[in-house]
């Protein structure tokens, strides 16, 4: 099959980008989208041109490295599918396809279709962890967890941090990502001691990174390759509101009220 690609080319974060048209000829419908780009890049290299830079790692849909806005949809036309698991049979011969990077101020373009998602790492560092003591693995049933809560925690933990939620959100909000991390830890007993501080710290970091706010469009859930439900954002909001309302009490309990 033959396709016409409109690809965003940008040398680095400082320089302005532009769309460049490429012909992807003799593409097998069994190729993945990234393999199609590999073939195109080999031809570009043979012609002495600069290949198109794109992020990828495992190519089996579980690492969260890849991600391109394909024809106006993050990760392309197939639902619950990362860009690497999208195959060319999802397109028709002769299609014109537009490729753009995730567009958000918090995700500056490094080159072409690669963006810097360190903002997500800083949000995780702000509170997306449990301060559990290091030691041997605990006994499987030492801490009972309700089946429903375990399932919800697992659903949230499937987030691979690809950033498609930010890319698809009309507000470039990272709410779904942060909500997934807060729900993942908040549904488990190990996450309880730091639950309130986690909500405050992670939301504060999310805001500081310059992401937009949630207006409940639901675009994030639609493009999420792991199908993280947008309802988790309500859990994040509930935790954040509760944490804000009870902050004074926790400060008093810590004895900081008299010290400060």
């Amino acid at each position: 099959m033959n396709l016409t690609l409109q690809v965003w080319r940008q040398k680095n974060a400082q320089s302005p980008g532009r769309f460049v048209t490429y012909q992807a000829a003799d593409i097998s419908p069994d190729m993945s989208f990234l393999e199609m780009l590999d073939v195109l890049n080999e031809r570009l290299i043979q012609k002495g041109e600069d290949p198109i830079a794109f992020d990828h790692d495992c190519r089996e849909g579980i690492c969260g490295a890849c991600g391109v806005v394909i024809d106006g949809t993050a990760h392309g036309p197939r639902r619950r599918t990362t860009t690497c698991q999208l195959h060319m049979r999802s397109f028709r011969d002769g299609d014109e396809v537009t490729l753009e990077p995730w567009r958000a101020r918090a995700f500056p373009v490094i080159k072409d279709l690669i963006v810097d998602r360190s903002a997500f790492d800083r949000i995780i560092a702000a509170g997306g962890f449990v301060s559990a003591p290091i030691g041997s693995a605990p006994d499987g049933n030492a801490i009972p967890v309700r089946k429903e809560n375990a399932d919800l925690a697992f659903d949230a933990a499937t987030c691979i941090g690809c950033g498609a939620c930010v890319a698809a959100c009309p507000n470039a909000s990272a709410s779904l990502f942060v909500a997934a991390k807060i729900t993942h830890l908040g549904m488990l007993p190990q996450g309880q001691p730091e639950r309130m501080e986690r909500a405050l710290s992670m939301v504060a970091q999310m805001d500081a990174e310059g992401f937009g706010s949630c207006t409940n469009h639901g675009e994030c859930e639609a493009v999420c390759p792991k199908g993280i439900p947008v309802a988790f954002i309500a859990r994040m909001n509930a935790d954040f509101i509760k944490a804000s309302l009870t902050k004074g009490r926790r400060v008093a309990q810590a004895g900081e009220a008299t010290a400060g």
Partner: protein, 220 residues
């Protein structure tokens, strides 16, 4: 105090302000519509209702309501403006191509419907409360002002368009408020969304019936 300010500076805190003030405004638009339904009972009923509102709590009730509503409107606009500017700044370069997957017309036009509704509310106050935008305003004769006001066709059409926009605003706003406040269990979400659509439909149908009833001669 610093932590309270921190809450209102956060995106979620501003959304909570939007949701709570929105809830107050939902209550108002519903009550306003239901109160005005008394126009169908004739001039005496409507004018007596208007007088009752004016004399409630020795005249204080009206001003308490007005103060709460004004504060709600100001805070609602403040949070909306602040969040909109932040969201605009969050995506400096727009997509060349963007296909909506899940968002609705109502959700995508919240900012536009909000701005147009503000203009409508200002006009509405000048039309029926202050009377300076009314062709034949008689202080205290609400029924007369109502009928004379809606006999002007462009005005009646503007009211109908503004109320359809109000319906879209409520359609997204009512259930969106619940999720913002953290009340969004998936099991009840469809009831919340259905309830929002029903609430919006009831308010719009009630309000739109007024200019239509006057133009059709049902309310003489």
């Amino acid at each position: 105090m610093t932590h309270a300010l921190g809450f209102f500076r956060s995106t979620i805190g501003k959304k909570v302000v939007m949701a709570v003030t929105g809830l107050i405004l939902f209550g108002f638009v519903l009550g306003h519509m239901i109160g005005n339904l008394q126009v169908y009972l004739g001039p005496e009923a409507l004018n007596a209702y208007a007088l009752w509102l004016r004399e409630l709590l020795h005249g204080g009730g009206l001003w308490i309501a007005r103060s709460v509503l004004l504060a709600s409107v100001v805070l609602h606009i403040w949070s909306a403006t602040s969040l909109t500017l932040e969201s605009r700044a969050a995506r400096p370069i727009a997509y060349r191509k963007w296909e909506p997957q899940a968002s609705t017309y109502a959700s995508r036009t919240m900012r536009w419907s909000g701005v147009i509704l503000l203009a409508f509310v200002i006009y509405h106050l000048m039309h029926f409360t202050f009377g300076n935008a009314h062709p034949d305003f008689v202080e205290g004769d609400v029924y007369h002002n109502f009928v004379a006001g809606f006999r002007v066709l462009p005005v009646a059409l503007f009211y109908i368009v503004a109320n359809v926009l109000l319906g879209l605003h409520l359609r997204h706003g009512v259930w969106s408020m619940l999720r913002t406040l953290g009340l969004a269990h998936p099991r009840y979400m469809r009831f919340a969304q259905g309830g929002a659509a029903l609430f919006a439909a009831v308010v719009v149908l009630g309000n739109v019936s007024f200019p239509i009833a006057v133009l059709a001669g049902i309310v003489p």
